[in-house]
Structure formats: C-alpha cells, structure tokens
Symmetry: D2
Subunit: 246 residues, 4 copies
Amino acid sequence: MSFETSVGTSDADSITVMGRDLARDLMGKASLSELAFLVVQGRMPTPEEARLFDAVLVSLADHGLTPTVLAARLTHTGAPESLQGAVAAGLLGAGSVFLGVVEDTVLFLDEAGEDVEGAVARELEAGRRIPGLGHPIHKVEDPRTPRIYEIAEETGLTGSYLARLRELAAAHARQTGRELPINGAGVAGAALADLGFPGPLLRGFALLARTAGLLGHLAEEMQSPIGMRLYREVDERAKYVPPTGE
Amino acid sequence: MSFETSVGTSDADSITVMGRDLARDLMGKASLSELAFLVVQGRMPTPEEARLFDAVLVSLADHGLTPTVLAARLTHTGAPESLQGAVAAGLLGAGSVFLGVVEDTVLFLDEAGEDVEGAVARELEAGRRIPGLGHPIHKVEDPRTPRIYEIAEETGLTGSYLARLRELAAAHARQTGRELPINGAGVAGAALADLGFPGPLLRGFALLARTAGLLGHLAEEMQSPIGMRLYREVDERAKYVPPTGE
Amino acid sequence: MSFETSVGTSDADSITVMGRDLARDLMGKASLSELAFLVVQGRMPTPEEARLFDAVLVSLADHGLTPTVLAARLTHTGAPESLQGAVAAGLLGAGSVFLGVVEDTVLFLDEAGEDVEGAVARELEAGRRIPGLGHPIHKVEDPRTPRIYEIAEETGLTGSYLARLRELAAAHARQTGRELPINGAGVAGAALADLGFPGPLLRGFALLARTAGLLGHLAEEMQSPIGMRLYREVDERAKYVPPTGE
Amino acid sequence: MSFETSVGTSDADSITVMGRDLARDLMGKASLSELAFLVVQGRMPTPEEARLFDAVLVSLADHGLTPTVLAARLTHTGAPESLQGAVAAGLLGAGSVFLGVVEDTVLFLDEAGEDVEGAVARELEAGRRIPGLGHPIHKVEDPRTPRIYEIAEETGLTGSYLARLRELAAAHARQTGRELPINGAGVAGAALADLGFPGPLLRGFALLARTAGLLGHLAEEMQSPIGMRLYREVDERAKYVPPTGE
C-alpha cells in the first residue's frame, strides 16, 4: 500500500515540488514565500498575491525581545551546538496568547457571516472581547494595519475578510463609543484568509515569518549574547519563598 | 542596565526592524527572504543576491517524505491543536546527518583555503569522506547543482566558495578516478557562504526553508493524513523481542 | 523587584528544593517520583501515595511504537548528536488525541459533580462519547484499570474520582446496554486527581512518564535503529500525485 | 518485514514492557526510576542501585531559575494550552553548556583509563579545563558530591568512575596547587557510568530528572507567573541600537 503525497518527490535526474520541476521551474523563478504559497494552495500566487503575502509575512516576522525570542536565546545559551533546538524553542511559544488573535479574528468573521454588526453586539453583551481590535502599545493606530489595507487596495485583493474587519471595527466604535484600532495580528489573519488560506494553517505562516525573525535574534545572540546575562540577573534577583504546602 | 538589540523595536506609532520603518520601508517592498537576509547581515540584499538566496532557499525547502517530515506529521497526529509543536518536531531532526553537509562543506573549504587539492589528498589518505560530494539518489548529477551555478553566473555572484567547491569535485575525480556529483546540500552551503553568511548560521536557512516545506506537508496531513496510518502499520508489523539484559 | 520562586535556590554551601536541603533531606531519601510529587504539591507524598503515584506513572510510560515514539526515533535519525531534541520531539505529540483522555475524564467528572448518571445521560443524548471508556485494543478489559483500583484499595486512596469513574462506567452500561471497559488513560487521570493533582498539570505527569519510556526507545534506536529503515520504506512506497490546485 | 522492538507491546489482555507484564509485575512494584533503569539496561536495578540512581536523578532535577526553566516558563506565557510545548522548550536548552559536564567527565575518564594523573597533566599542559571540577557558586564544596559518594559507599556501588574522579580531583590539586571541588554534574556522570549506563545516554537521565523539576516550575508559573513580567521588564529595558551593517 502506498503513501500518497503531492508535495514532493525525486528520481535520479529530477526533483519535483507540487508538480513542478524544482530546478527548472522554481529555483531562480520563485521566492521562498511563493513556494510557501504553492505548497499550501497548490498553485503559484499571482505577482499581486505574492506582494500582499510577503507584506503580511514581513509584518509578522519580528516584534523585538518577545517571550518567544527570549526562550530561543536562552535555549541557545545552554545548547549553542543545536541551532534547530533554539529555533524550535522559539516557535513553541507561538500559541494561543500571541497568535490566537490571527486565527480568532478569522474565526469570528466566519461565524459572523454578513451580520458583523449583530455578531459584535452579541459578543459585547456576553462581555467578551472582540478579536482583532486594540493593542497594548499601538493605542491609536497599529502602523501595520493601514499599510496592509493600502497594499490590498493597490493589488486589488481587498476581499471579504479585510472588508468585514473594517466593518467590525466600525461596529465596535458605534456600539461602545470607543474607537479601537485594528491590530496587526487581526489584519494579518484577514489578509491571509482573503488570500485563500484555510483557518487551521494561518498560524503556520506566523511560524514561517517568525523563523526568519528568530534567525536575526540568534545571529545577534552569537555576537552580543543576552541569554546568560538575563539568567544571571534573574538568578541574583530571585527571592526564595519556602512553599506552604504542608 | 539595558538589553541592547538591533533587530527590532516599536513605539506607539511605529515598528522598527533592523533600523528600517517596518510599515513604510519593508512591508510591500521586501520579501520574507530579503527580510531574513537583512536581519542576519544588517543590510538589504541586492536584487541579484536576493535571486540567488531565494534559489538556495527554494532548493532546500522539500525533499519529500523525509524523516523530519514524518516526525512532523506523526506529531500532528497526536497534537493537531498545536501546529507549532508539529513544526518544531519537524525542525528538531535537522541535525548533523541531513544538514551537516551544508556546514561541513563550508568548513572543509575554510580549512582547505587555497590548497583544495592538498586538502582532498589529506582527507582521502585519512580515509574520510569529502563533504559536499555524492548523493544516494542523484548518482550522476544533482539537478540543483548546475542550476545554482547557473544562477550564480547570471547574477555575477560566483564567489570563492562556489569556485573552490568545483575544484574540490575535480580534485576528488583526479585523485580517485571516480566522478562524484556535487550535491545540493554542498552547493547550498557554498552559495550561502559566498552570499556572506557566517558558518554557524548556515543551518538556520535550511530551517527557514524547511519550515515552508513543512507547512505544505502539514496542510496535506490535515486533508490526507499519513501519520495515523503509518503508526498503525508499524504497530501491526512490530515484532516484540524480549530483552536479553538479564 | 524580585522574582519569587518556591521551587529551588542555592548558596555556596547548600541547595534547597521546595524548602528542603537537597543533599541532606532528599538525595538518598526521596525517589524521583516523590520529588515530582513534592515540587507540584509542596509536600512529600506518604508511602501509600508514592506507591499509587508510581503505579500511575509506570502505567503511562510506554505503549510500544506509538506515533510519538516514532517521531522521537526519526528525529534521532537526523540529529543523533542532540538527544534533547529527540526527547522533545517525542513529547510534542503528547497532545489532545492521546493525552486528552487523561484530562477529559477528570474534567467530565468535575462537571458531573455527584450526578454522574445525569451527566452520562446528557452526554449520550447529545451524541458525544464518554471520556475514559473504551479502548481500541483492550476491548473487554484494560489490564491497567483493575490494577490501579487494586493498589488504590490497598493503599486506602480510592477517592471521589476513582469511585465516580466506576459509577460512570456502570451508568454508561445501564443506559446503553453495552459494557465498555474503563481505559488506562481515564483511570490514570482519576487516580492523579484523587492524589490531589490539579487538572491543568495532569498531562505533565504523562510527559514525565513518557520521558522514561522514550529513553528506552532511544537506547534501542542507538543499538537497533528503526528510523532510517522506516523512512526508506516510506520513501520507496511514496506515490507522487501531482496537486490539483490549478 | 517487521519492526523489532524490545521495549513494549500489547494485546487484548496484557501490556508488556521489557519482557514483564506491566500490570502484574511492574505497576505497584516498580518506581518510575526503576522503570527508566529497566528500559535502558534491560534489567531491574537492585534496591541499592535504585537508591543510588534515585539520588543522582534527584540531584539533577532542579537548579532554580535556570535558562532552561526560564525558556519553559516564557513558552508557557505564549502557549499555556500546550504544556508539552513548554516542557519541550525547557529540555531543548539541556545541551553542551550545562549538561556537557555530565558526559565530558565520563568521556575524560574513559580516555584516561588507569592513568588519570597523566591525563590531567596532558590536559593542563594543553591549557584545557578538566571536566567535573569547579563550580561558580559552590566554590569550596558542591553539597551533592559528598552525598553521592556517601550513598555509593553505603550501597557498595563505588565503582571505577567514582574512584577515578576522586583521583582526578587529587591529581589536579597536586599539579596545580589549587583545590577545586568535584561538581554535581561530574559526580552524577561518574555515578551513572558506575551504574552501567552508556555515555551517549547519560544526558537522557538529566532530561528525565529535569522534566520533574520543570513540572514544579510550570505548576508555579500557573499560580505565580514570572514569564510575562520578565518579558515586560526586558522589553522596557531594551535599548534599540540600529545595525551598522551598511
């Protein structure tokens, strides 16, 4: 019994990825982002799609010294010989707290359908937060948001998700009297959904983008380490409090 | 005391990555690969460098149902709710056996310096294998190799590593009377070194490229799972042999 | 500002773990399982608790060539120099599919409270499966289940969770006319809950137990490798099906 | 073609681990540590071996807020829904820097053979550090060391590695005029080697022990989180230095 796959195969003379000859049709012609689009969607993106897709990936690649970056750098401190371990550690924290918004925004819009106004009303009544709105630092405007909308306009790729995300922000402002900016994670999710990516994989593109960002942090860690110093300081400032379990 | 970083920062109105304004200067202008180049080298690649760099990344992204892909798909079988765990598991096998060649080829050329002929002679005399040569499937020619050399020629980026890797293959053929093709991992390492990337980070770009490939496999695993079937078959064919430890 | 912790600390002359002198009070006196109990509950287990706890851990340690074991062995194939990577890959698949039952059983009993009969009725009416019952291989009786109940009896530690899990199985049999055995994951969850462990950490003890099992598989993989052979066979039996995305 | 394994198997009525009936012969009779010994060595430890083995595992389980513990806690900050990811991240930093000593000490003694004095002399002449000696905090005596020697004496298990490790410390003091204590990692490696464990697996027992310690830290992180606060403080104290790459 065989194991079927459409991703890739090879024989003595050629390598095939998604039905294309890797050396002849992809190398030198496709960027890594276009390849990532291809392996998930089964077709090459148009130049416009590739531009929007790259803009989203670039927007997700780095956010400074985040918890996941610190985890990667601290892992490198203990196991510098295993770069794959440090990268893996840096990806493992990309879970519900930080990446949830990317997916939750799309899920919320999926459930809202055309009635965004009603969905916002129900959510507010239930006392829940609306995903995709608000940011702890970018309180007035998240600089990534207008840029994604601009590129989507320029490329003619403003789809139903991006459009309804704007409705969502407007509905929230109307109903609460308080304007919250659309955040970068929310707009990234909406743009990826408009590009045709399925919900369960949205997180995957954030992982791809962050891997690029992690390489920058690990290159810096090799030159100007933070991990050991961070540990030493935490250790010095650690205050031991005997447990009260008994 | 501060924690210095050059990778990224943000304030209320802007996000900065490697000294650039993310929204204005990078989103819509740089691809993810260009960003990866930027965060490691501190400068944007030229269009020619970006083309060669993308060709290398694309060449490394997928090799079919490899051990690391199987590890990722089997991890998804048990924890489908944690895509980051499956990707991380798929990266953790990217160690000395499969990615060693990328780095070992560059290391060998670093140690050889200009005397590639002599270095090959010493290595053969010591009974060791020459890194970057030979491939279990592509016995005559690895299709990635001439393509990388072609793109390096077209972009004017054939540097010392790519040149000496050819000398290395020629020296090996002369001294052993047996022609071995330069393999895809070896040529990728040499091209990355010619692009200016430092040795300890070369593996990182293979990780980035493979993350893209893994997304394709995990998208496929969600639609046409292999993991559970593979496990069940192994389980059925497992033959229990009591240990002889006592 | 300090970072408070109760787990451990050290100074020039001593090491403290959970308020105990590591060298004097724990080494030579506590087993690793007792230490694991201590660091989570803040107190040492009684000998009876330790016996039941060890029985649960031992019951969870190995299930043969599972997907997670295969992921660990395939990771070792590619990165034999990084044992921590292979162990980590083997833990990452310990998610909702395989370990969910341990937690779901306890959660179900938490929500059922004293009305297990009613909770089973509601669940069956909603067409949902009852967690903790049934096993694909052990169709009549899971051998771990009577043993855990026996040890809980012997140690006087049959608590509310173990008792209600039996009610649950009986209620299910009464209401459906079909007897399903309590499975090993369900009984492990109930026993851990009766031992006082909180729900969100139950999965952690399965991870601890499996780490022990993984060491056995990785020791075997070093002597009698399966990973490379498994990959080669999958590769040979892979059937490439060009994607239909376009 | 079958996949042979000696670790475990099961059928409708029974589960077998290392040739033993899990429910009848192991559950309620063996501790998790004894099981870990069994799956690697193929035989049950004697009570004396189990005591020394547990003492070593307990000695390795926790060292306070180490880089790997911080990586695990920061991973939990971002992905609290995936305990396996936080544990895996906490293991991935267990590499050459922190665990190298456990293995390096045994490797050094393997290479030294009976001539420890000469091996120390050669190493000092080459300007290299002797593994297993010295500790940044425990400058006079590592409290774990005399305790392991004491338990080894009591159990009659002082073997060649523990004996030669003492010679090594004495040789170093004689040749340098400077007494360095045998550190906890070195003595753990020697004791595990005397217990019959092979070199490439020594790191695995540190991973097992640390998994227990990590559960304590993650339980604490759920109650009294450090991760988010640590990140916020690093973020506030981050000083952005534009790169000088161009």
